[in-house]
């Protein structure tokens, strides 16, 4: 994926965050969201290995071997941060105390179901915290590329094992912003660089085009 596509996705997801939110960013693309938080708001980042108040990567030479994120990368603890054990961490996640989780995706379907933890026979990394995050967070934002090797990732029905049967809140790709609703997938925004025709062609699932379709 071109760097500017990732940036575009991260930038757009960051617009969804609000003052005082507790946010969990998945490893990979979702991590970039932290770089684009609007200047006028303050959010708290949780990392499921046991911290609220996670700060950016430390300068070289200031790493602490016992202060890491869920990908084992070095982080900092901002003033006011707290660390805790895994049961408490997942109580925050499962108990509805986490405002937003931003996760990558392999597939999302018309019901808003996400599959992001395994490709049978090919890739079995395990679900880690993803199933708890998707089940328990107040809002689930899927940040992913619109297609994989030209194949649509927004499909009629997920062929891959689901992460949760909970409907995700929003799908943000480099081409579109889509909200799963009771009636189906609502296409709310398309990228400046694309056309409605291209988005529809690269999406397998049926999309309901918003009457107030915006560009981003």
């Amino acid at each position: 994926m071109p760097v500017d596509s990732k940036e575009k996705i991260a930038r757009r997801v960051a617009q969804e965050l609000k003052e005082g939110y507790l946010v969990n960013l998945g490893i990979g693309l979702p991590t970039l969201v932290a770089n684009y938080i609007p200047k006028d708001i303050h959010v708290f980042f949780q990392s499921e290995n046991g911290i609220v108040g996670m700060g950016p990567e430390p300068e070289k030479g200031y790493e602490n071997k016992d202060l890491t994120n869920a990908g084992a990368g070095f982080i900092t603890a901002l003033p006011g941060a707290m660390t805790f054990d895994s049961a408490f961490s997942f109580a925050l996640i499962r108990g509805g105390h986490l405002d937003v989780t931003v996760l990558g995706g392999l597939q999302v379907d018309e019901e808003g179901h996400l599959a992001n933890w395994m490709v049978p026979g090919k890739m079995v990394p395990g679900m880690g915290g993803a199933m708890d995050l998707v089940t328990g967070a107040k809002e689930v934002i899927v940040a992913m590329t619109h297609t994989a090797k030209g194949e649509p990732k927004i499909v009629k029905r997920c062929s891959l094992p689901l992460t949760s049967v909970r409907r995700v809140s929003l799908i943000v790709t480099e081409l579109a912003v889509i909200e799963p609703t009771d009636d189906g997938l609502l296409l709310k925004e398309i990228a400046e660089e694309t056309t409605l025709e291209e988005v529809l062609r690269l999406t397998e699932a049926r999309l309901i085009v918003s009457s107030e379709l915006k560009k981003f």
């Binding site: 890491t68 603890a77 395990g126 679900m127 915290g129 199933m131 094992p161």
Partner: protein
């Protein structure tokens, strides 16, 4: 040869220190001994075929010296319960790399290609559990609970073979407690009662596992006199700890 003649001054100090530690520990615990042991003794405690809970998250907060000793002595046929299998050269990953595990029960194996290889080749069994569920199953095992009800996994492959229980119209999976023969814990500090202080995100599964095993072996970076740790900072009471290995800061 009298072994005493071969001792250099360092060893004499170490033996004296060990003796004092044991005496001190026995005295302070009113006869209930916290055994401060040498790393060598770990391999005499843990037998092949044991079920181990090992603290850590991708190796952060994992007792690496104890793992290195198990690898060195080739103590195998292990069932290992932990968050993940870390990396091939780190944490639980080293046990996997050296083919010492019969089975691993973890939430994530994505950072260790060797785990995936052994799983696909049927050389080792892998049971994947959602991370929050794993934490609660360990907690249940240590807290005397018959299981926990979680919405995580409902409607997914995780549900297979499990009881679904409805409470107030919402579906939950009944997840059963897990325990182990040994918990291998990493602490920042330990006192001579065995009270433990953890450091930052190296805490993770450690305090949960310290409750859920028959024998608890701790690797602490330093051991300090009783009374120097504040009640607030102690996250695991010494009554749960059986053995301590002092590793130094690495």
């Amino acid at each position: 040869m009298f072994p005493l003649f071969n001792l250099n001054s360092f060893n004499i100090i170490k033996i004296a220190e060990n003796f004092m530690q044991k005496l001190f520990a026995t005295f302070l615990r009113g006869g209930v001994t916290l055994r401060v042991i040498d790393i060598e003794e770990v391999s005499e405690l843990i037998r092949p075929g044991s079920t181990l809970m090992i603290g850590g998250f991708l190796g952060v907060g994992t007792p690496e010296n104890i793992i290195d000793k198990l690898v060195e002595k080739g103590i195998g046929d292990l069932v290992v319960i932990g968050n993940d299998t870390a990396f091939e050269d780190r944490g639980i990953g080293k046990l996997v790399k050296n083919k010492l595990c019969r089975k691993v029960i973890v939430s994530h194996i994505g950072t260790n290609p060797e785990t995936q290889r052994q799983m696909i080749a049927s050389e080792m069994e892998v049971e994947l559990i959602p991370q929050g569920t794993l934490a609660e199953r360990v907690r249940a095992g240590g807290a005397g609970l018959g299981g926990i009800l979680t919405p995580t996994g409902v409607g997914t492959v995780v549900e297979n073979g499990k009881r679904v229980i409805e409470v107030d119209g919402k579906k939950y999976l009944l997840e059963l407690p897990i325990r182990a023969d040994f918990a291998l814990i990493k602490a920042k500090r330990c006192d001579y009662y065995g009270n433990l202080v953890y450091n930052l995100t190296a805490t993770n599964f450690n305090p949960l596992m310290a409750l859920a095993a028959d024998t608890v072996i701790v690797e602490a970076e330093e051991i300090v006199p009783v009374g120097t740790l504040t009640p607030d900072e102690i996250k695991t009471p010494g009554i749960l700890v059986d053995y301590v290995v002092v590793s130094g800061v690495k």
